[in-house]
């Protein structure tokens, strides 16, 4: 993963309002043994270890026997031919149609 595509750093360079935003992580939980990890949602964390802590607190609330995976949203490469988005088609490999995943010059209005 290159630093420039991380949402955190992209946001940091954008506007003062979003400076210091923790990057977005996707959370996968194995509900019980024998099952696959399943995507349950996302959260913010400053780094991988904090993301694991947060995932445990937020998505498995208390004490359950589970296994967690976390991964930075910006590290996921996506392919979904069915979801057509011309805006980002040339680099359409991100999980979200998510403007902050892309460096946009500060002087572009309404972004």
């Amino acid at each position: 993963m290159s630093a420039e595509t991380s949402p955190g750093s992209a946001a940091a360079g954008k506007t003062p309002a979003t400076r210091g935003e923790w990057p977005l992580y996707e959370v996968f939980v194995r509900g019980k043994r024998g099952l696959n990890h399943v995507h349950v949602g996302s959260l913010h964390a400053a780094d991988d270890q904090m993301a694991i802590h947060h995932a445990r607190d937020v998505y498995t609330r208390r004490n359950e026997g589970v296994s967690l995976w976390v991964v930075r949203s910006s590290s996921i490469t996506a392919s979904s031919p069915d979801e057509k988005d011309p805006m980002f088609a040339p680099s359409g490999d991100k999980v979200y149609r998510h403007p902050t995943f892309y460096d946009i010059p500060a002087d572009v209005p309404h972004m």
């Binding site: 923790w22 949602g41 964390a45 904090m50 609330r61 296994s67 011309p86 980002f88 359409g92 979200y96």
Partner: protein, 346 residues
Amino acid sequence: MTTQINENQFDATELEAQFAATIKAKDRIEPRDWMPEKYRKTLVRQVAQHAHSEIIGMQPEGNWISRAPSLRRKAILLAKVQDEAGHGLYLYSAAETLGATRNELTEKLIAGKQKYSSIFNYPTLAYTDVGTIGWLVDGAAICNQVPLCRTSFGPYGRAMIRVCKEESFHQRQGYELLMTMMRGTEEQRASVQESVNRFWWPSLMMFGPPDDDSPNTEQSMEWGIKTHTNDELRQKFVDMSVPQAEALGVTFPDDGLKWNEERGHYDFSTPDWDEFWAVVKGNGPCNEQRVAHRKRAWDEGAWVREAALAFAENTAADAADTDTAADTDTANTADTTNTTAEETAK
């Protein structure tokens, strides 16, 4: 990395047709799909308001955590308010898939540029209100939210499924608290009735203005963002609540409330829409207090959020400097954290 916007590759009408077909088939729109800008904006506004409501909604009940009259009730209340933080988090995540970050939305909330449910601008004046909020406010929220599990935007619907499951526990705990209090002393019963009197009308207003005064409803229904009108949901809530009040042994403060055999519904009086608009426009009993509380927490947390980012950057820089085996180190760390999560979870 540069964004290439190359709309000519795609036929705009074809995209719109595809979007319309997805909506018509009651299929879900997913984040990478093309969508009309107005659809995206409407959704961001609705999801953000919803997320803000969960977060601001922590305050009125949070007001009684320190004073909950039994340890069991304290645990229930703390867990409930914690759930609301979780709900806000799920919903902000849904908004992020539309390109609105949590920071941006929070900044808008504390600048007064985005709204939240007006019910939370009413004060909680007794611990009993925890029960009433659970029963009536969460009950009204469920009426509003259950249909949203089927909303047209995938991430919003998925967040709502999680939210609704937890909300139904909340409503039950509220009703159960009131039932328990009604079995208690005379003073407790009086407190329940007093609390219900204060929250009944604001609960009815939670469904929003009457349909003929709700300009966005039509478009939102067409897009499958909204699936019932305000008045439909309000009627449904009244019909649900009356027998519950009877079972509880309390009355609602409305002389016009009575069963209409012909309509098959309860008739009820018109809520005080002047009060509603006054609260929406910022003159509710607690508007300023709620936003100020959120702003204080956000502002006072800024240095912590900064510090964590700086730590992450410092650590990453140290790791990069140390040696060429950085990749292995990272892999090991990931293993360790994963193990930690599994072990502490047991």
